[in-house]
Symmetry: C2
Subunit: 98 residues, 2 copies
Amino acid sequence: MDADPDLFKAIGDATRRTILDELIDRDGQTLFEICGRLTMKHGLASSRQAISQHLAVLEQAGLVHTRRQGRYKFHHIDTSPLRSIVERWPIDREAPNP
Amino acid sequence: MDADPDLFKAIGDATRRTILDELIDRDGQTLFEICGRLTMKHGLASSRQAISQHLAVLEQAGLVHTRRQGRYKFHHIDTSPLRSIVERWPIDREAPNP
DNA sequence: GTTATAGGCAAGTCTCCACTTGCCTGTCAA
DNA sequence: TTGACAGGCAAGTGGAGACTTGCCTATAAC
């Protein structure tokens, strides 16, 4: 029961959800890119360390994968862990397949 | 942005997720029924007040609807709010429709 | 009526976690 | 080699929330 508490913890924070939105908009950003765009587009004045810790939580939940390249670290979103949510509590489909 | 923080808060707690599991298994339970089954089947020794507060959070998130009948209050699960999650961050479908 | 049952309300405690602060490591350009 | 840039580590702080405690209301059985 409850195999992945990290997943629910990850999406439980509003800032982390905004980070996921940002990675949906542009995948493969670095930490500084995410910081800048969160400040500009979303008005979030979060520090670099805060965002870094958020990304670590997202990575531990499997929602973000990282790729190192020189002194840059690119972050890629992976939404597949979310599948377990709708598999655990199936959504009654009201919109039938056309 | 982030229209429903109550939803993520609701599924962010392990006990509340177990309550949803229990309502999936048997819908329309009362508070005391849920307390009993959580203790028996899931080994959770939570007090009645704790479960009551959890149900209030679930109801505020729209995941649980209640129906009063005499001195009983029946709780019904509604998984449709979960749809917003997969709509917000679409899941790359690997299993094609047969 | 009296008692038991099903549930609600409110204040207090305590733990977890988001965020900060300060310093350190590693990579690239000059 | 020196500096700037990208990122990491660790201890400390503050606030949100899970849970308890105690008492109260309402419905039903006796």
